[in-house]
């Protein structure tokens, strides 16, 4: 279960969107224009079960997301979904990792306070004794030039999705 974002958690002016999250349903998110720089030298690491429910987060994940560890564990990974991300990107991610392959891409993530941060994400299936038991996602600092390319690309994709 994923609750709507709370205006009390958001600082400054915000816009409101309702996302239709796969396996979750509608979620109201509150978005500001503040970008939080990715911290140098860090990796943001999380693991999910095969349904995308978070089972593990590292310290960097907690700090960058703005949520507490208790709020994150048991939540769907789409708790970070930003409305500027095209649905097609995540459809490609899930199709890739469910086929046992590694997915890599640039992602704009939404924080609890409505701000956002860009990451270069790599998602790998956790294969144990020949079976996928979950997924590990590792995010690192992206090259700014790639982020700028993705801003333009994702805006076109979102427009094509009719949002």
């Amino acid at each position: 279960m994923l609750s709507d974002m709370n205006p009390a958690d958001v600082s400054g002016d915000y816009r409101e969107y309702t996302l239709d999250l796969f396996g979750v349903g509608p979620r109201r998110v509150l978005v500001t224009d503040e970008e939080v720089p990715y911290p140098d030298g860090r990796l943001i690491v999380s693991r999910t079960d095969t349904e995308g429910i978070i089972t593990h987060v590292n310290r960097s994940f907690v700090e960058m997301s703005g949520y507490t560890e208790d709020e994150l564990i048991g939540a769907p990974h789409s708790i970070l979904r930003h409305p500027d991300m095209p649905r097609a990107a995540f459809a490609d991610l899930w199709r890739t990792v469910q086929a046992g392959e590694i997915w890599q891409g640039y992602v704009k993530n939404l924080r609890k306070d409505g701000a956002y941060y860009w990451v270069k994400a790599t998602v790998i299936p956790n294969v144990r004794r020949g079976r996928i038991v979950g997924y590990t996602s590792v995010r690192r600092k992206p090259e700014r030039r790639k982020v700028e390319e993705c801003i333009a690309l994702y805006a076109r994709m979102v427009a094509e999705e009719g949002r």
């Binding site: 030298g41 990796l43 998602v123 956790n126």
Partner: protein, 251 residues
Amino acid sequence: MSYVFTVSPDFSPDYLAGWFVFNTWLQRVSGLRFHLELMDHFPALRQAIEADRIDLIYANPHDAATLVREKGFVALVKPGDGADEAVIAVSADSPFQRIEDLEPGSRIATTGDPDVHLVGMILLEPAGLNRENVTLHRCDSYVLVAKCLFRGESDAGIFLARAFDELSRPVQDRLRVLVRSDIQVIHHYLMAGPRLADWVADLRDALIAMGDDAKTAEILKGLGVSRWEAVDEEEVEFMIDLMDTLSYSPA
């Protein structure tokens, strides 16, 4: 029966004698015969692993993947001294103030230490640097990486953070850190191969108890290790998954 014990070639030469002392202790406490065979470089180690000649190894994270997933090794313990982290440093008088100041074509001094090199290259990514657009200077030690920077032969150097911190003060004063990784989960592991399967529990117990006794704690000090910590199978699998994500480069 004699078993072959080796140490990943990235260990500091300062601890060479310490590994021989540790091996003597290990034989006495386990009643097993270990022959400590130190390899000069990584290709020799890889050949020995491929030929199934190794039974016990202090393995770097890069080789841990092969050992666990292809050779049936299990991790006994890890050092309780923090994780393996990397540092990107430049000469103190370098014009580069942050990673993003480096440009494609940069000359990067590095070592044959595979996991440190991998993490170092990840740290260089925000500048748009990758193995295709930098010139790598492979050095035999971290001291030589530092010298490469002093002489202006490289623009930046990749160091194991622990090795950087152990450089002498005058050497460190001539360097400047641009970024230090804070990954927290990449470790070396002491690992046992299939021929030692019946001894895993006993070896692990003896190793963990080393920190409790002043005499054996002194042996650990000779390895640069404060104590051994137990590890479970999933922790190692997790690290291997993480290393795989860092190694991944789409075709």
